[in-house]
């Protein structure tokens, strides 16, 4: 380890049933050494999921524990840290007050993660740990994140994320929603099984891969599987239990009383409510795969957050792999909407050419570049519904997407790019813009300006330009495009669309066509 660059990092997560902290030491973005881990149980999910709000005493308890953890930050002199909250706070109606109260009492700024970001961060952890697995690159694997509030299902196929969906059916939520059943029925596990599978069956229809060879589980409640059938450790962070062994225990447990279960498997009283829902969810997904068993992994959101902190510090470029995952899943979604793949590629290529060449002007970073790419991929998905005003439908589809790693605000930007890529010029009060902060409005405008002229360059969807060259000076912005076809349409559309670009960047772009065959 290169000691010179060694630094300390910390991540605090406010989850649905605990507040956890991790302190680690690292000298690059590749790996870290855990110095401390803490886990303070606090049942936020119970309140949030059933009542919709988190009560004042609970909020004060959060503040008090955060104040304590802050002492650890001071102790280690840690300045690189992240405090994030997941579903329990995200779904509390009073979340803004909670965040504010925490800020006032502890000085800590809590970032609420969207589901998609949560998954994205977990994937970071997956990628670090499992891409090393043999044949991971050639087969399909399903990853189930078994949280208390929600679960997420992701499918990696040949090393690429191809499907990812969040479901509001975490173990605790499932229990909270069905606890009436438990009181009324003696065969609660059986009813719960039915309830769960009816929910799961429909999801997987979206999933493109029927033959999933490996089934991985992780997350807060994955340990219940370990508690009933002792899995075998096959890698440092990976254990395995065969399908048969799991099912054997599963069937046995279904008919045991809670008291017996608590005693036999050493389950705490506060955890017992999560026991059945967790196992039943696992069983439900196991049935959807042809995996020979269950792989229990130790990836976690915390770990993912840690990697993301490390990357921010040591190697911002390292995010590329995550971006590839996001883009890959976006392409799979676009495919569902029967997009014109070639056109999207073309627009993406031109957009990136323009984006890169005017970096000094727009001063946007890699994250915005990613948003631009997503907009390019998804900008025409609305055509699936209707050609008329397709941009409007594209924007609506994007808004409804559960796009891994993309926050709500970012999604608005992508959506705005789709909505305004065609011809309408947005202002402050336009749809989507009215819900953005100033900064996001500016980002959106810049990206729209770029995608609009890039789209114009393939107006006919015929890929007339082989490649383009972009040249930017303070006074001029020249795009030289090479084509051997008739490009009159493109030139005409370009001239119409260039105005917005000029409004945003202060320079009127000029399209110069160079024929490849006929000399000028």
């Amino acid at each position: 380890m290169n000691k010179k660059n060694n630094a300390l990092f910390s991540v605090i997560t406010i989850g649905s049933h605990s507040i956890k902290m991790i302190i680690a030491e690292a000298s690059d973005e590749k790996d870290f050494k855990v110095i401390e881990k803490t886990n303070y149980p606090i049942n936020l999910g119970r309140e949030s999921f059933s009542k919709g709000v988190i009560s004042v005493p609970m909020v004060l308890e959060i503040c008090s524990i955060l104040n304590k953890l802050k002492k650890l930050l001071t102790e280690y002199h840690i300045s690189n840290y992240d405090v994030i909250a997941t579903s329990a706070i995200r779904e509390a109606k009073n979340r803004l007050f909670i965040i504010d109260k925490i800020m006032i009492t502890t000085g800590l700024h809590v970032r609420i993660l969207t589901n998609a970001e949560e998954r994205y961060l977990t994937f970071k952890s997956i990628r670090k740990n499992y891409f090393l697995l043999e044949d991971f690159a050639t087969t399909s694997s399903l990853f189930l994140d078994l949280g208390s509030g929600s679960i997420s299902v992701s499918i990696y196929s040949k090393n690429k994320l191809t499907f990812s969906q969040n479901l509001n059916m975490g173990s605790l939520r499932l229990y909270e929603e069905t606890s009436e059943l438990e009181e009324q029925s003696t065969s609660y596990p059986l009813l719960l099984e039915e309830f769960t599978s009816s929910n799961i069956d429909r999801i997987i229809d979206f999933g493109p891969h029927k033959r999933i060879l490996r089934f991985f589980i992780f997350g807060n409640n994955a340990h219940f599987v370990a508690s009933i059938c002792k899995p075998e450790r096959i890698y440092p962070k990976l254990s395995y239990v065969s399908r048969d062994v799991f099912l054997e225990h599963y069937e046995k447990v279904k008919y045991m009383s809670t008291v017996e279960i608590m005693k036999k498997y050493h389950i705490d009283e506060e955890d017992i409510d999560l026991f059945f829902p967790s196992l039943i969810i696992v069983k439900g997904f196991l049935d959807l795969t042809i995996s020979s068993g269950i792989y229990l992994t130790e990836v976690s959101l915390r770990e993912g957050l840690m990697y993301s902190l490390l990357e921010r510090k040591f190697n911002p470029e390292a995010q590329k792999a995550d971006f590839d995952d996001i883009l890959s899943s976006a392409r799979h979604i676009a495919k569902r909407f029967k997009y014109d793949k070639e056109h999207s590629r073309e627009v993406e290529k031109f957009s990136l050419d323009i984006f890169e060449s005017i970096k000094d002007v727009h001063e946007l970073g890699s994250r915005e570049k990613l948003l631009l790419q997503l907009a390019c991929i998804l900008h025409d998905t609305g055509k699936f519904l209707s050609y008329e005003k397709h941009y409007k439908y594209s924007a609506d589809i994007i808004q409804a997407l559960d796009l891994v790693g993309i926050s709500e605000n970012d999604l608005k930007i992508v959506s705005a790019c789709a909505k305004y890529h065609s011809h309408i010029t947005p202002d402050d009060n336009s749809y989507l813009f009215d819900k953005m902060n100033e900064n996001d409005k500016i980002i959106s405008a810049k990206l729209i300006a770029i995608i609009r002229i890039a789209d114009a360059l393939d107006r006919s969807h015929k890929r007339k330009f082989e490649n383009i060259e972009v040249e930017y000076t303070k006074k001029e912005f020249k795009i030289t495009a090479y084509s051997s076809e008739d490009t009159t349409l493109e030139e005409w559309v370009f001239s119409k669309k260039a105005t917005f670009f000029a409004e945003v960047f202060g320079v009127m772009p000029e399209l110069i066509i160079k024929g490849l065959l006929n000399y000028e």
Partner: protein, 680 residues
């Protein structure tokens, strides 16, 4: 468990105190040491009545009739205690009168009676009384308008019957509390280097009329009461006791008198009057053939010039390895054991003191249970906080008898900016652990000190305790986790090396014993040696019986209470129990398991008492380094070999001198000599 197989802990404790008294009786000990033991015996006794008898009295008052594992309910226990305690008390005064006093006279220390005083003495005493004593005495008469006063626990009082100086006046009672700031022994001017001592109570007696002018004093006598000082229900009694008391309409009698001491020549009237006023059973009145509360004799020990009748001085020695070096670099290289008092406590003080000044140190975390009055530990911690270190101190306020003292310095720590935590609800923190976080280069290094004894520089000179310094990463991580739990940051997560009570300790011990049983069953060698202070927990005792029956050889070195009965045929044939009561209070706790040749060594802050196993935060930790294991082995073997201070416990719970071995061997002497030699 069969009642027959268990010795009531109070009775076993009385046996322990008897062993202390034996040391006062032991002519091989120098006179001053015998006096010291005598004095320790008395203060032990007081604490026993304060807490143990007090707690049993609570149970009786609450109507709690549950039997202890020996089959005795609280009433039975009180009765048995009183018989035994009366016996010991008589023995104490017999010893004092027939052996100690004559020996003291041989050494020119004389206790004088009124008849021995010369006119000159009387004049001196008169002056002393008027100037020093009289002004701070407050007589308190008892009549229909003035009730019997609330006398303070453990104070000495004069009970006076008197009447007005009128023909038909009635007799009434008055009491005078003797302020404890006055020395019990009044030294008369020495003659020919002979110390002449007159007891304070006799002096007051002599002048009692001065306090009651216009009255006729009928009689005057000293008396003393011991109260139930157990203000919190002792956790070792089951929770159902608490419920019992809550449910009971009867109120607990806070601070009820549990023992009354009077001189054996006091008249019947005084006793019957006091037993009635104090609501105390005749059985709990102790008639003493000599001055009450002999613990004042400790003051004689500190008189100058009696070195010839004391043990040779021993000054704890600084361990060679630390000399002239930075303590962190030493610990970084290897684990180090400190065996107090043979090894000086200074490295522990240095550890904290250096950390306070070291710019590389980020944080210091420590548990403090009982510290000395002017503790250098506290000073260092304050210093550290002032130097900008993050200092976290867990202060256990529930440490019996030390509460007030603890609050005072806890406030001082807080003022200096330390983060002070006041223990966990329902769990006393008894573990002794210090963690120092140091930033070396750019990475974090953790240094840990774990000990069997408190961070108390004074007791470290008197108690045998073992401390371990380590920079082992796993110990460091465990220590962090423990402090995070204690600070309320986190629930406890899996620990790798340190075993923590109440969560994991019992299971760990059971597992280790089971393993020996398994090995014995297979016909392999199976042995256990445990050195502790008390063995009371019925579960562990039962398990040890089982292990014995499976053929595990068990050697227990239990200094104090031992509820297990060794050597019962077919039950505990393979168990031996020994107790060592010596110059230093045996306090270290060492566990050794043969483990089929892969010998396991552990040190512990906990005794094998139910409260330590289940209701305290305690640390039980392995010693891993080969060299250190050797040191521990030598200590254990030395304890087993000790035929000077060692006593063997018999099946009936009594003890006899260990007469094994041809040569005399005392582990404490051996270790003192060894350390001295090492230094040369």
């Amino acid at each position: 468990m069969n009642n027959e197989l268990y010795i009531n802990r109070e009775l076993s404790w009385l046996e322990f105190n008897k062993r202390v008294l034996d040391e006062a009786e032991n002519k091989e000990n120098p006179l001053m040491e015998r006096i010291k033991f005598l004095s320790i015996f008395c203060s032990n006794f007081d604490e026993f009545f304060n807490v143990r008898v007090g707690s049993l009295r609570d149970m009786v008052n609450a109507g709690y009739i549950k039997e202890d594992p020996a089959g005795l309910n609280p009433k039975h226990q009180l009765k048995a205690i009183s018989i035994k305690a009366q016996e010991l008390s008589s023995e104490l005064y017999r010893l004092y009168r027939s052996e100690i006093l004559p020996e003291l006279e041989k050494n020119n220390i004389h206790f004088l009676s009124l008849a021995d005083l010369t006119e000159e003495d009387k004049k001196y005493l008169h002056k002393y009384f008027n100037e020093m004593v009289f002004p701070i005495l407050t007589p308190h008469a008892v009549d229909c308008s003035r009730p019997f006063p609330h006398l303070q626990d453990k104070t000495l009082n004069m009970g006076v019957f008197l009447k007005k100086d009128t023909p038909d006046a009635e007799r009434f009672f008055a009491t005078v509390q003797i302020p404890s700031i006055l020395p019990r022994m009044v030294f008369l001017p020495a003659k020919n280097k002979v110390y002449r001592i007159f007891m304070l109570e006799d002096l007051i007696s002599m002048h009692i009329k001065n306090l009651f002018l216009g009255h006729i004093v009928i009689s005057v006598n000293s008396y003393r009461i011991i109260r139930n000082a157990d203000l919190t229900i002792e956790e070792e009694e089951a929770e159902d006791l608490l419920r019992e008391i809550e449910n009971s309409i009867k109120q607990r009698k806070w601070g009820q008198a549990v023992k009354l001491e009077v001189r054996n020549n006091a008249e019947e009237d005084l006793c019957s009057y006091l037993t009635k006023e104090l609501d105390i059973h005749q059985r709990d009145v102790y008639y003493q053939n000599g001055p009450l509360n002999l613990s004042f004799l400790m003051d004689l020990y500190n008189l100058p010039g009696f070195d010839s009748i004391k043990d040779p001085k021993f000054i704890p020695l600084n361990k060679e390895i630390f000399k002239g070096r930075n303590i962190f670099s030493v610990i970084k290289e290897q684990d180090v054991l400190l065996h107090h008092p043979y090894d000086s406590f200074n490295p522990v003080l240095d550890f904290i003191n250096q950390a306070a000044k070291d710019p590389k140190v980020l944080a210091i975390k420590q548990t403090l249970y009982r510290v000395s009055g002017n503790s250098p530990v506290i000073k260092s911690l304050i210093n550290a906080a002032e130097n900008g270190k993050q200092v976290t101190v867990l202060v256990e306020l529930k440490a019996r008898f030390d509460e007030e003292k603890n609050i005072i310095w806890a406030r001082r720590l807080e003022k200096a900016g330390c983060h002070v935590i006041y223990g966990l609800v329902g769990l006393k923190t008894h573990s002794k652990i210090t963690l120092i976080l140091r930033k070396e280069g750019n990475s974090i290094k953790r240094y840990v000190h774990l000990s069997t004894g408190n961070y108390n520089d004074i007791t470290a000179k008197l108690y045998t305790d073992i401390g371990l310094f380590t920079s082992n990463e796993r110990f460091g991580q465990d220590a962090s986790k423990i402090f995070n739990m204690l600070s309320g940051y986190s629930e406890i997560e899996n620990l790798e090396k340190i075993i923590l009570a109440p969560m994991f300790f019992r299971k760990a011990i059971e597992k280790l014993i089971f393993r020996e049983m398994e090995n014995a069953k297979k016909g392999k060698k199976a042995e256990i040696i445990i050195k502790i202070n008390s063995l009371v927990d019925p579960g562990i005792i039962e398990l040890l019986y089982q292990a014995s029956q499976k053929g595990v050889q068990i050697y227990l070195i239990v200094r104090g209470v031992c509820s297990l009965k060794p050597g019962i045929p077919d039950i505990s044939d393979n168990i031996k129990v020994k107790s060592i009561v010596g110059r230093f209070l045996e306090h270290s706790r060492i566990f050794w398991f043969y483990n089929d040749g892969d010998e396991k060594y552990f040190l512990s802050s906990a005794d094998l008492m139910t409260r330590n196993l289940d209701r305290r935060v305690e640390t039980f930790f392995p010693v891993l380094e080969k060299e250190l294991k050797k040191e521990l082995w030598e200590i254990l073997q030395g304890n087993i070999k000790d035929n000077v201070k060692g006593k063997i416990m018999l099946s009936d719970g009594t003890y006899v001198k260990d007469n094994s071995g041809s040569e005399k061997f005392s582990i404490q002497n051996y270790l003192m000599d060894k350390k001295k030699k090492e230094l040369k």
